[in-house]
Amino acid sequence: MTADPKVREYEAGTYDVVVVGAGHAGCEAALAAARMGQKTLLITISLEMLAFMPCNPSVGGPAKGVVVREIDALGGEMGRNIDKTYVQMRMLNTGKGPAVRALRAQADKAAYHRSMKDTIEKEDNLDLRQGLVERLLVEDGTCVGVVAATGARYRAKSVVLTAGTSSRGKIIIGELMYSSGPNNSLPSIKLSEDLERQGFKLRRFKTGTPPRVDGNSIDFSQTEEQPGDTTPHAFSYETPDSVYLKDQMSCWMTYTNETTHTIIRANLDRAPMFSGVIKGVGPRYCPSIEDKVVRFADKPRHQLFLEPEGRDTEEYYVGDFSTSMPEEIQLKMLHSVAGLQHAELMRPGYAIEYDVIEPWQLTATMETKIVKNLFTAGQMNGTSGYEEAAGQGIMAGINAALRAQNKPGFTLKRSDAYIGVMIDDLVTKGTNEPYRLLTSRAEYRLILRHDNADLRLTEMGHELGLISDARYAKFQAKKAAIEDEIKRLETTRLKPSQVNDWLASINAAPLKDGVLASDFLRRPEVSYQDLMQFIPREMPLDHYVNEEVEISLKYAGYIEKEKQSIAKLERMEAKKIPDRIDYSAINGLATEARQKLTKIQPQTLAQASRISGVNPADVAILSVYVEQGRIAKVAPGA
């Protein structure tokens, strides 16, 4: 069974949890498992690629930034790690409402990798090893370990696979195509073959990355500067304002033009995207520049961002210029852009095709339905993005650790977290393209804010043992402060005489009668800070508390609306469907519904109702069975 009959297998160690792959998913998974007291091994193709960012040098943004905070509230590492290694921090969407504000950091790629590696090396219970895993050890449908190319056989109670884009990866640059993982790393070939042997359905996805150029050759004067924020922000709830970086690096904005587009159009026959060379499905939200030029032919220009890859490097990432054109054409394209006329190419852009596991083969705990005690996470499950990977990684790590201890699994609902939305989408609907989190995927985004991720999830993190008692105590103090201040504002009255002069000074309508401070705060022109001039506190609260109080009161009406819909949904979520129902034995289900239900095996009635092709009548019939407890219709041998 081994790859090479000359290599002899040997027993290399016994663990509670083995995590394969040390990308953003793998690192979170391994840290979570180790911190939950499980003896954990993190094994990866190259230690130099640990927590490596093969594409854009940034973390966060709309929806993704919220995920980073959710990871932090669950005791994960991504937030802390980026807080230690960013070169620029910006709050996005500040002009909009609280539901969609989003933090984004530009990362120092090398520092990010080093810092994460350092954290992992110092973690108790966690071994880090370089190695290429080639197959799973499966006994009676249960995964009991992995075997590496060197013959090392690692035994484990549960295994997490986070192979990323390495799985049968293929890099494509124009007419050039070669087998490779991201950034010319070793690809993983045999593991994919083994997964297929186990019965997994795999499919091909494609993604791409833009060229990197030498900063010394960029004429920044022809571009627009985008500096970072001066007001302190951080991803981790544990990072104090005092360490906020003053000396930040800027990004630079420039545009393509008609010349660029002409070059692209003239060479479409050499573009693998169009010549039919690329078979994998690419993401709609991250199109290559050639794709954009073709699909939006009437747009005269496209925005580009020049982003530093770090402090100790001159490499710049040409954001939004993802391409798999031949290198020769890439150069011409780059040189047509303002500021890049003399740019020196350091690394060409490329497309990469890779295998993914169709994610409907997983349950909500990220365990596969095909092999027990095997969990998968990250890009391997058909997502794209470091944050999406890390969010799945921590969930897979937590569940692998729980499984190793024979404890019940841990899941997040759609109303708990973006992570919950993402995993539910993946396991319920599968995905036909690399999946990216967008705020529009969440039904309750006013509840899933970035400012309240700790309020939503810290409790759970603490229960899992991932949040220390000290941090938990601090969190509870914050929560109490928020509640007390809300109560104070809801019981304090303001008289017209107190506030009318100020209202007049900002040209706002005066008060006729006294109002509660909480109601006064609901006026659009009034902020929490404004309110404090009339009803000051002896000890001002920290700005995170203020923010929470302000949002909770100001948008109470909308928050209430969302809470009502959540309450409705939750009762459907509470209706669990027994495992492995034989849907063919349930009379009355429509044929399409029967097929879909059999394939997805939803765990709750709510999940069943989200499957396309399952109609309300089918859900009703299913609910009759669930209520009736007629579990006799469970598939034999399940």
Partner: protein, 462 residues
Amino acid sequence: MAQTVTEYDTIAAISTPPGEGAISIVRLSGETAVQTANKLFKGKDLTKVATNTINYGHIIDPDSGEVVDEVMASVMRAPHTYTCEDIVEINCHGGIVGTNRVLQLVLGAGARMAEPGEFTKRAFLNGRVDLTEAESVMDLIRAKTDRAMQVAVDQLDGDLRKLITNLRQEILEVLAQVEVNIDYPEYDTDEMTTKMLREKAELVLGRVDELLQTANQGKVLRDGLATAIVGRPNVGKSSLLNHMLQEDKAIVTDVPGTTRDVLEEYVNVRGVPLKLVDTAGIRKTEDKVEKIGVERSRKAITQADLVLLVLDASQPLTAEDRELITLTKDKKRIVVLNKQDLPQQLDMAELADLVPETQLIRTSMLEVSGMDALDKQIKNLFFGGIENSQSTVMVTNARQSGMLRQAKASLKSVLSGIDAGMPIDLVQIDMTAAWDKLGEITGDAAPDELITQLFSQFCLGK
């Protein structure tokens, strides 16, 4: 995004058999049954009354403040009720007119129209009904919900579907624009402003209002469908009128202090209330063979929503007949070919050029034949079975208008949110709700629509 949560929301339906009775009951069941009824109820605060009490009061239209009916409302609280959920039963005065209006208001206030058998289904799901009945309940669900869905969707007039689909598309484009601004804040896509959002919301609200008005079944149900029986003298108008007034179907309202000229007569044809216009005129022209008929008919036609044009099939078409056919050309119309019992003299080829076959009903007042077909035709016209292609778009059932009202409420919240200075991504919550409600009317609720729109409408990177 659309979420199908059909299990526990508050449902409502008329629980008494259709038709005229001394009382009719609108029943609500679900978590917010009491709150929903209370929004419309003037009397005691229903949310505070004890369980199993019956309470006197009035149902008020919250939009106009108008009193709709004097009612008794029974409040029964979970779990000791038929469905094991909170139930309110509103006892209305009998008559489809008032009861339907109450139902409409209840649906507008947030309840959902119950699917057939749904109260029983809930009773079963909540363990109230014997488990041995499971299979039959399931058959019921399968048979009725599928059919109900089918009927609900089939009832949709093609024009209405088109109109609502267009409205949804308008909203979708706005939503996609808002989304793209949120998910791609640094891109040079146009910023959707609250001003633009307001314009769109007002536009859609206007259309929804028109729909609710032109086709406001509630209004028709309240006032009756103004119906004129026209035709030249001696074609059988009077007999037709008398047949329609037979079988206790007539509701004759004698308005005090008025002459017989303004007497209004109502008939109930298979649940459709018809207000007969100028019945006195019919009698008069039949009485005296005078040529005042056409002038009088012209007036009646302008007042009518529905025209029953009676022709004498035993005689060739006269100039007067042709004039009436022309006059009623753009009306909702049924052409009654009476006197089928006599030898037929009417030139059907000529008539076919003037009147589409679908509008023709053959009757004999003497032999009392064809009345059933006429009743059916009236019902179909009203409930939209065979919608007249030249008529304006019409919302034809309570479920649809209930959803329209809910969409309207969401659109109003959009506007009040903008007025209150709320940020666009919050206002958008209500805009999305309006989109969802409209989608429920047409049965379209594809959750990935928005995201697909996002990527087809904008050029995005990252």
